[in-house]
Symmetry: D2
Subunit: 299 residues, 4 copies
């Protein structure tokens, strides 16, 4: 019996890469958070302290910044593919390079002035291997709410169940979604915009019998619209909004007598929250391989 | 010599009040974070443990939620004035009630569906006293950036100064601004929109010789546009974007030879950051009284 | 009528200064977060863009790091006094320098290995002026809880009051405390240790009729023990722990029948929270001057 | 071709369970953050909106609180096993229940008063299935630093490599570690204490040629000491401490002439950071099954 090295990866996380394109007076901005990692045969670094196969995380950082200029950022997926390919090329011991990117959107104020847009963050996780490459696009912090057309009833009950069934509640969530492409010949920006539209329009227009159903509908809409998407996964907190109880107030004989709360005043709770994690996939989707390996969130 | 009670206040902080207006199929949402506090003669609670003059923070919370229905939320300032007046009315020992509100904006997706907008948060701090009432409106998390038209040079130097002078840098900040109104007869929502426009258009269109100058110009534009604003205060981190140094790369004879970085690739730093806090005021502004008492940020 | 510059200050915030003393094989570590600001006549920087009186925030940063070596860190107060004095000396336009420090504690593992201790963070705010100098010591993130010997009853009620009176509840808070010294001839480290002991032993051994009373007792104990402390101020959230309601469970005839909750199971809530801000002062304390100017938290 | 439901789970996250044991005047406190999820055949909830097989997340929450009393918390692993077993028992459609717990430590001040200890957080992830049960214990936020006896040199270089080799640097990290037990017949608290001791003593006493090597040594020490541990996984940011450059100061002829920085003054950086994720396992470890499924951090 002996101790052996198990799965491992290493890299530089959260490089805050800001790229200004200033070839004309009308500047453009790309504002990214880039994390890279390398996987492979790095036993030397762990077991004997031999770093000769280790491309430093500092070099990975330098490359992330250099490639913002050398390759450019037409889309985060395209940039991540180039960066991952480079890191793999120069690291013989590595079998895979994973590049994760978050992109923060800005709204133009003028030729060279911008205001950060807020709202959802666009993401991708690209895994470049010696034999296969995977692209998972995504978004996070997409906070949506519907103030009616949401129920939750007919659920399983045991002796600890006290939740009342309801025909009308607020449904709110902050969506993390990631979708796997079947290939890399994709118009990444157009694809992203379409997925975002599918998610929002489905959320907005469908009746909800549970957050699970709503996510399944949203995912199905994406797969129906984007032929190059093999599957989509969600991690979605049920951000509870509890109806505030006005019934205990001593309002009899006061000007406020008869105060009611018919779905009008809620308290938004922080913790605990429901957490729904789910996937929708094509029944003929190609195998995922390592596309989801070490991707934060739902497996 | 004896110990005595000094300044004090107490209340309920961060009530997450969500108000849905559903009188018609086209719902509206107001999404607030409300904090209240009471000041005055609360020596009993501190010194002898006598709570008879203390309106519980739990009751303050209940009132914040009840007033979202009873009074409504035409604007956060209007709601805070009503809530502060109520709390003062029912607490004889109090001399002032302060109400702070943050409002999160949502974009409509449909009749009763919304997506959270992100970007800046609208705020107010209302102080209701027995004799005087103050309204300070504001915003926070307004992140702006200009990719040129910003310099920093001609500064004071000592033996620890190593900063190079620059004619062209990125200027970026996340603005917290608060402005004090001279009265309460204000169209709060229109006033807010105008101030926000003044801030963004001034930032976008003026040359910057320092963040201090830019803030002063922004504040002056607000005072020039809004006659009912007596002063405006800013707290603004200088969010440094450092030009990445490509000069150390060993690119001679490689395909990347001649790689330059002419204001194109930056690293966005977290800490440390410059912090500029400043105020612009009318020279004939009425006294501030307790308008700024216990307001977080710059005094 | 014209716009004029109001109060202002500028500096470098959150310099993460780590100082290793390695004169012997037994190393020591000082792990600080240092923020500096300068106040005074900086109208040029704001109004005309003239930076000639402005010591750059980058230089302030450099000085904070250099002084960790040149002056050393026998205590954060002593270091801040030296740093503030230096910044004022080299900036003729400044009338005051404020230095804020947070110190993170480490526990020794060996001669040169350490584990971060967690728990409360020691703080100070030092204001160095041309004529007067003030030292405010403090701590934050001191989280304490008592599981009994705490009541809340006899409070003021109105028609929105629904809170039940209680003879026994959990009292929990995360204390921010700051205390002002009357001079600078203080054994800073010994004084700090004594104040911390006073706070914890008073919290632990006294009955609580409200968090206000407990804070007042804690503050009085500090003033009684430390003759050089003129006043102490607290900002303390009432971190609510709500008794979980087991009464709705359908346990009749089950093995769990008779399940009760006699102060045994609580849910720790995040928001909203009570917020108690209060001060205890000597009745013969010297005036505070600008000691509390722009100090975050309670005025 | 059709859309189908993929992997999914649902539950209640971050229940802040506080349990006071008060059978004697000397109270005890258990302060937990509990998350539960159920996996299995929940196609109805997703595809047809049928909730009849869904035990509500609200009921999962109620059960987490009830079991803090009914079962008690002798250790977080023991409590999680009981809670997971219960949830699986009452949910026929579920094939697995996963329970994650974080425990915050408190130091006793008196019979019924406590101060939160800070430092590392103890964790576990328990997966209860119909056929197999897995326990993964762990800790997070264990921040350690060594001020010497750490090098990094002999690494792979390419044209973007600018990092200097070093014989002496600060090594600092905030460790997340998780270790899988081969069974459930374990003295959980004693095992935890021993693992923590192994980690700290190995970190403290070994020379480091890379964080990878140090983690491997720490993991090996755990496996050597704890026969019931099959493998251990780490996720460890390399928290960079950069030596501050004093060479640019204009100190010639000043009292500060000759200021050097021989490993004495560092700036602690936030982002980017190296991120090392690695595992050490016995070569005869039993298969992991679903022990690591949906465990945050490294796969």
């Amino acid at each position: 019996m002996a101790n052996v090295l198990g799965a491992n990866q290493y890299g530089k996380a959260e490089n805050r890469v800001v790229r200004i394109v200033r070839d004309t007076p009308r500047h453009e901005i790309h504002d990214l958070n880039v994390s890279t990692s390398l996987r492979g045969d790095f036993g030397g670094a762990h077991v004997t302290g031999d770093q000769s196969q280790v491309l430093p995380t500092d070099t990975q950082k330098n490359t992330a910044f250099a490639y913002a200029k050398l390759h450019g950022i037409s889309s985060i997926e395209d940039y991540a593919l180039a960066l991952g390919t480079r890191l793999l090329d120069v690291t013989p011991a590595a079998t895979q390079a994973q590049v994760r990117v978050e992109e923060y959107a800005w709204t133009r104020l003028g030729q060279h002035a911008f205001v950060r847009r807020g709202g959802e963050v666009r993401t991708c996780v690209v895994t470049v291997g010696r034999d296969a490459t995977h692209v998972v696009s995504g978004l996070q912090d997409l906070v949506v709410l519907k103030s009616t057309e949401s129920e939750f009833k007919g659920f399983l009950k045991d002796e600890f169940t006290t939740l009342a069934e309801t025909d009308d509640r607020i449904l709110a969530t902050s969506i993390v979604a990631r979708w796997r492409h079947t290939g890399t010949d994709v118009s990444w920006n157009a694809s992203y915009d379409d997925v975002r539209d599918c998610l929002l329009s489905t959320f907005s227009t469908t009746y909800s019998r549970a957050l699970q159903e709503t996510l399944y509908l949203m995912g199905s809409a994406v797969l129906d619209s984007q032929r190059s998407v093999a599957e989509i996964r969600f991690s979605a907190p049920n951000k509870h909004h509890f109806l505030v109880d006005f019934s205990g107030f001593a309002l009899e004989g006061t000007p406020h007598e008869g105060l009611t709360n018919d779905g009008e005043v809620f308290i938004a709770a922080d913790r605990p929250y429901g957490l729904i994690e789910t996937a929708v996939t094509r029944d003929d989707a190609p195998p995922a391989g390592d596309a989801w390996l070490a991707v934060p969130g739902f497996v």
